[in-house]
Symmetry: C2
């Protein structure tokens, strides 16, 4: 089986590393518009050959889209137009627009809208990890849009990454993920921006940051190129989640302002109870 | 040397565990108003004896305050009134009010206002860790208020925990920590409250939460009893930090609403740059 990875960043590089050590792929082709990414993957034997999108899409049995979600939207018509009996699987963090666009194409039944729930804050193929996907959840959205064989190939592909498969509706995916992933990134970005207020080169104040700060600020290292189109494609849900989040912050602010100890306790106790439920799941 | 720990929660229990395996203390006395905490520490050999506050303060050479910061404020006059040639060191996350109160007392030079920068989201002595303090930073505030010997004893105590010592002004401490620790807790509490909006018992939606969510929501498990008085004692700084944070979130919200890709990129690129500075320090 020939696998063609479009987008050789952290996700694409991790896919290549993992495929290299599974017996799913016989040959791994790769494309990235940044030539340094392609060069790194060739030099480090992550891919066997660098090809153009047209060449790779012609040759490969399975085409994996691991680019930012705006590029995925651009690639869908281009790839599906030239598709014969092959499967395209995307790895994007949004699914509604992508799934909708693919469904309008005559070859849409060969396009599997997927989201492997794995990521780190570092970007580029130098940050790629072979164990990135192991035991994580892979979501396939609207599988009813797929023909049987492309869906089965996609299932086997994610199983070869040792991922757990979940099927869900693309609209539900985008709403849930706004709260359970996308929002977290904005919180970390904003925390870094806010903490800069006390930065003081002479005192090196960030030395005072403890483990709590480190974990809440970690995602501030995430790539703008990846997250910008996620926030915009998931605009409605992001605005809803942000509004609710800001209203919760304002509750804390009001209670602190009014020295309302009981109000603060209620918020924190409720949050503790929710955290227990969350902690049992993650 | 006899050490008396008041407050046998996660911090007090971790102090006891660490002291037990260092050669700093010959005997460890403990008090907690929750009898189950005292019982746990006795049963698990974290402390040698359970004593009353009056007894412990009379017997011990060093008294460690590991209670929530509102209790520390209550304990300061009570302990200093009966103090002879002993040292009191507090472990509170706020320092301005505590340091100011101690400085007004005739025995205030024996009170060392400290903050070991170590913590986890779990509470109670069952969550105590022997390695909690190792290689972390311990802050001593306004050491100019201390006599030489109590300060030297406090330094040796923190060194026995294998901590790195930093000295700073109590007001600066509270401002910096509002941004570099206290704010993070409110962000996590609010994230848990917000994410509950998509909780759905039948679909068990929290299964979809990835590593990014897990790290930003972790502090939502933190104890209300500990954090309530921190937020209130550090009110002015917390309000300033929250206001700035909400204004940063609103920038993201506006840019998403207006589909301002360039604006989002600028925010994220700036955040990435700050994260790099932070990441070099933590």
């Amino acid at each position: 089986m020939k696998v063609f990875i479009i987008g050789l960043g952290m996700i694409g590089g991790s896919l290549a590393k993992t495929l290299r050590n599974s017996n799913f792929a016989d040959e791994i082709l790769g494309f990235d518009k940044a030539t340094e990414n392609t060069a790194f993957c060739l030099e480090n034997n992550l891919i066997d050959r660098s090809v153009s999108i047209v060449e790779g899409a012609k040759e490969a049995d399975i085409i994996l889209l691991a680019t930012p979600v705006d590029s995925i939207m651009e690639l869908i018509p281009q790839l599906l137009d030239q598709l014969e009996e092959q499967v395209v699987i995307d790895m994007g963090s949004t699914k509604k627009e992508i799934s909708k666009l693919a469904a309008t194409h005559p070859k849409g039944c060969n396009f599997v809208a997927a989201h492997p729930m794995a990521g780190i804050e570092n970007s580029g193929p130098t940050a790629a990890l072979e164990q990135l996907f192991t035991d994580k959840v892979a979501i396939i959205c609207n599988p009813e849009n797929n023909a049987r064989m492309p869906l089965n190939l996609a299932k086997l592909f994610f199983k070869s990454l040792k991922m757990k498969l979940i099927f869900m509706d693309a609209e539900e995916h985008d709403r849930d993920l706004a709260y359970l992933s996308h929002l977290s990134h904005i919180l970390s970005f904003s925390l870094a921006l806010t903490a800069y207020n006390v930065e003081d080169k002479e005192r090196n104040i960030f030395n005072l940051a403890g483990g709590g700060f480190a974990s809440t600020v970690r995602l501030a290292g995430s790539s703008a190129a990846m997250w910008n189109p996620v926030f915009l494609q998931n605009k409605t849900n992001m605005l809803e989640a942000l509004e609710l989040y800001i209203s919760n912050l304002n509750l804390f602010r009001e209670h602190i302002k009014n020295e309302n100890k009981e109000g603060l306790n209620q918020l924190m106790n409720k949050s503790n109870a929710i955290y227990k439920i969350i902690n049992q799941s993650i």
